[in-house]
């Protein structure tokens, strides 16, 4: 009798612990599903993030709206919600900093139509990201692949050969009135302020300096009184190189804000820098100071991923003022 009591008590306790753990796990799983689900629903809308930047070169306030990493996502029919908010924000310049078209998407018509509508609001600039490059240049534009493709060596390299290549998207965008910046810059006058905008095609760090270096130098060292905006899809370039100046304002995307952002932990993952990139000092999301000038990295507008947690899609609004 005494022996029976001894065996049943631990068994009951083990069963209770087992049930408790199972219940706890169920709750955790349910909680995770709820968080992911809520985030997915929440991500079907976007937020606006405002930044204020000062520059002595500005005589009047300039508003730049940056849209990045749309990945052929939609906000309402024909992106009506996005278009409506951009219209209401009343920008002076609209900058699309790459990956607005997904490399796997079959059609680019939606994005081209959206860009055409943007041109009615303000001058619109389009910079290619790795997805556009893969889709329209059939592979990544690294120094190795480009040199191999054109048969260049370090001595014979001619960046203009790459820029001479045309692609279907650029043609469509140009027709729609969008200025496509491929290792080139454009000057625009807003009020009484002259603004130079430089866009990079070879934003892969390996090919940036060898293929975009000359045009970037021309951009930086000409019209030095103009406000200089440098738009590069991949922010890694800002970590790899340190020229005299990157301009007065730098804009980038690509990182998707680290996909998920957890309390204390911060951004969880980027393709280039792996897990917890912010902990290792990489540029992932938000505003950074690079050589005394602001670098703003957008978390992008992609809304199809389930793992985009606590990281809503965003439109970046930058107000450049004289103070």
């Amino acid at each position: 009798m005494k022996q029976e009591k001894l065996t049943t008590k631990p068994r009951k306790r083990a069963r209770a612990i087992f049930l408790f753990i199972i219940s706890l796990l169920s709750v955790l799983v349910a909680f995770t599903i709820a968080v992911v689900g809520c985030n997915y629903v929440e991500n079907q809308n976007f937020k606006e993030t405002f930044y204020c930047v000062s520059s002595l070169k500005v005589h009047n306030k300039i508003r730049i709206v940056q849209l990045s990493d749309l990945h052929s996502s939609y906000y309402g029919a024909e992106n009506a919600k996005l278009l409506d908010r951009v219209t209401k924000l009343n920008p002076d310049i609209i900058l699309l900093t790459g990956d607005c078209i997904d490399s796997d998407s079959v059609d680019d018509a939606g994005t081209v139509t959206l860009c055409a509508k943007f041109t009615d609001i303000a001058p619109t600039y389009y910079i290619y990201g790795n997805n556009e490059v893969e889709k329209y240049y059939y592979g990544a534009l690294t120094q190795e692949t480009l040199d191999k493709k054109f048969g260049f060596t370090d001595e014979t390299r001619q960046p203009s050969k790459l820029l001479d290549m045309t692609d279907a998207l650029a043609e469509k965008l140009k027709k729609a009135g969008v200025k496509v910046l491929k290792n080139s810059f454009d000057t625009i006058t807003i009020g009484t302020t002259n603004v130079d905008i430089y866009g990079v095609l070879t934003s892969n760090p390996s090919a940036f300096w060898s293929y975009a270096g000359d045009s970037f130098d021309e951009f930086i060292y000409s019209n030095e009184n103009n406000l200089k905006i440098t738009a590069i899809h991949e922010p890694t370039v800002f970590e790899e190189y340190a020229p005299d100046s990157w301009g007065d304002l730098m804009l980038a995307g690509h990182t998707h804000g680290g996909h998920a952002r957890l309390p204390i932990v911060g951004p969880v993952y980027t393709h280039e820098d792996g897990m917890l990139p912010a902990k290792t000092g990489h540029y992932v999301y938000g505003r950074y100071d690079v050589q005394g000038r602001p670098l703003i990295i957008s978390s992008g507008l992609e809304n199809k991923s389930f793992f985009r947690i606590n990281n809503p899609p965003e439109i970046v609004v930058v107000d450049v003022n004289k103070f």
Binding site: L24, F50, C52
Partner: protein, 452 residues
């Protein structure tokens, strides 16, 4: 207000359950002995799976709810970084008013900047409050405090909960900075921006006067700025004094010597008789002024002569100078005033004389000279060149002024935005979890006591 109450409701419910359970234990424990009481407590299973899971679920729900509620409250600190702030003044010396941070104009601007929809200025303003970061005590002299840091708080209401709280506070502070700099810092317009006159129809000597007026206004602006920032160096390595020096040099050589001399030398005039008539008329008027000034001067002198000697005695008043040294100060008497007036009238007479002589000289030159076409063309070219140079000097002066203003005012208002910290959120959640657990266990224990 309502959201803060809503946030506390789960904590209040848990607290109520705990209170009721404790009351039940208190009333029912009257029927049990001390040993029975201890036995009940000892026999209680404190790690009940059901209770733990229940507490876990409601804590998770509370955590999520609390997180969303916390996101609706944000605050910012607006710090004034200019020297006058320590005297509760704006940078232009007027009295500082912290309520301007959330005034209608600022809120309006923020709504416009953020393109906020479905919210009125009044509704947004109601969600904002501002108070000094460090409160002094007006009743205690030792704790008088002029605050240069102000906290702006935003708590979303039902009308504004669709807005992103951080965006709201960021745009409010940004709009305030814009508003403040526009209202209280330097004015960059050197002159009232009048439309430029048409030089092709204007008399040549009038053009000289116009140029003189323009350069003088640039000089006045530069001297004014130089007083504020004598050592300030612009991005072009210039100072206000060096730019003023250039403008002064230009004024005396190009306008007063070259252009004026050329016009007088060749008697360049668009309508000779008309212009000479005008100058003659001016001389007549100036002569009247001269006569009045001379009469007033004579009158003052006569009055001084008539002044009784007894009345000219001065009174010495004991006083102290700025360094605290004692001296006998001399009081002003009537004759002093008369002598000052006489000097002033005498100076006016001299000025009138000079104007008349100058005009006579111009008339004489105009009458003698022929005003050849070549000379006229030369004067026109010089006018165009001087006009362009004045524009350049104006632009340079404005640019220098802007740079100085940015140098002094760039950090005049610093803003730091802070939401509810994760740690404080975690603290609230942990307190709630503990409370919920104690309440649930107490409720379970209270039921074990026999009913009276």
């Amino acid at each position: 207000m309502y959201s803060a109450i809503l946030q506390k409701i789960p904590v209040i419910i848990a607290g109520l359950i705990l209170l009721l359970a404790l009351l039940r234990i208190y009333f029912r424990s009257k029927n049990v002995t001390k040993s029975e009481f201890v036995k009940i407590l000892k026999s209680t299973k404190y790690l009940q799976a059901g209770v733990l899971i229940f507490v876990f679920i409601i804590t998770a729900l509370f955590g999520v709810f609390n997180h969303f509620k916390a996101k609706q409250s944000v605050s910012a600190i607006v710090a004034l970084n200019y020297s006058e702030a320590s005297q509760a003044q704006n940078s232009n010396g007027t009295r500082y008013n912290m309520t301007e941070i959330v005034c209608d104009e600022v809120v309006d601007r923020a709504i416009e900047m953020g393109a906020f929809e479905n919210v009125t200025t009044k509704q947004l303003k109601e969600c904002l409050s501002v108070y000094p970061h460090v409160q002094g005590d007006v009743n205690d002299e030792a704790n008088y405090h002029i605050s240069t840091e102000f906290v702006v708080e935003y708590h979303a209401s039902k009308h504004t909960q669709h807005l992103n709280s951080e965006n709201v506070i960021m745009l409010i502070t940004s709009a305030y900075k814009e508003y403040y700099i526009e209202k209280y810092t330097d004015n960059f317009n050197l002159t009232e921006q009048e439309e430029k006159p048409d030089f092709s129809t204007m008399e040549y000597m009038d053009i000289v006067s116009y140029f003189n007026k323009e350069t003088t206004s640039v000089l006045n602006y530069l001297y004014g700025m130089a007083e504020k920032g004598p050592s300030f160096v612009t991005s072009n390595d210039s100072t206000f004094h060096s730019i003023a020096g250039k403008v002064y040099q230009f004024k005396s050589t190009q306008i007063e010597q070259n252009l004026q001399s050329l016009i007088l030398q060749y008697g360049i005039v668009r309508d000779k008789s008309n212009y000479i008539d005008r100058l003659s008329y001016q001389n007549k008027n100036t002569d009247f002024d001269k006569q009045k000034n001379t009469a007033s001067f004579n009158l003052c002198n006569q009055a001084i002569d008539l002044y009784s000697e007894e009345m000219t005695r001065i009174v010495l008043v004991p006083t102290w100078d700025e360094n605290g040294k004692f001296y006998m100060g001399r009081t002003q008497v009537g004759i002093d005033e008369l002598s000052v007036m006489a000097t002033s009238f005498s100076e006016n007479v001299a000025a009138n004389n000079k104007e008349i002589m100058d005009n006579k000289l111009i008339i004489e030159k105009m009458q003698k000279a022929s005003g050849s076409t070549a000379a006229r063309e030369e004067a026109d070219a010089l006018i165009a060149s001087i006009d362009k140079s004045i524009d350049n000097f104006t632009a340079e002066a404005i640019k220098a002024g802007r740079e100085y203003s940015n140098y002094t005012m760039n950090q005049c208002i610093a803003v730091s935005i802070s939401g509810t910290s994760l740690l404080s959120e975690l603290k609230t959640v942990v307190i709630f979890a503990c409370l919920a657990y104690v309440a649930a266990i107490s409720r379970s224990v209270s039921k074990k006591f026999p009913k009276p």
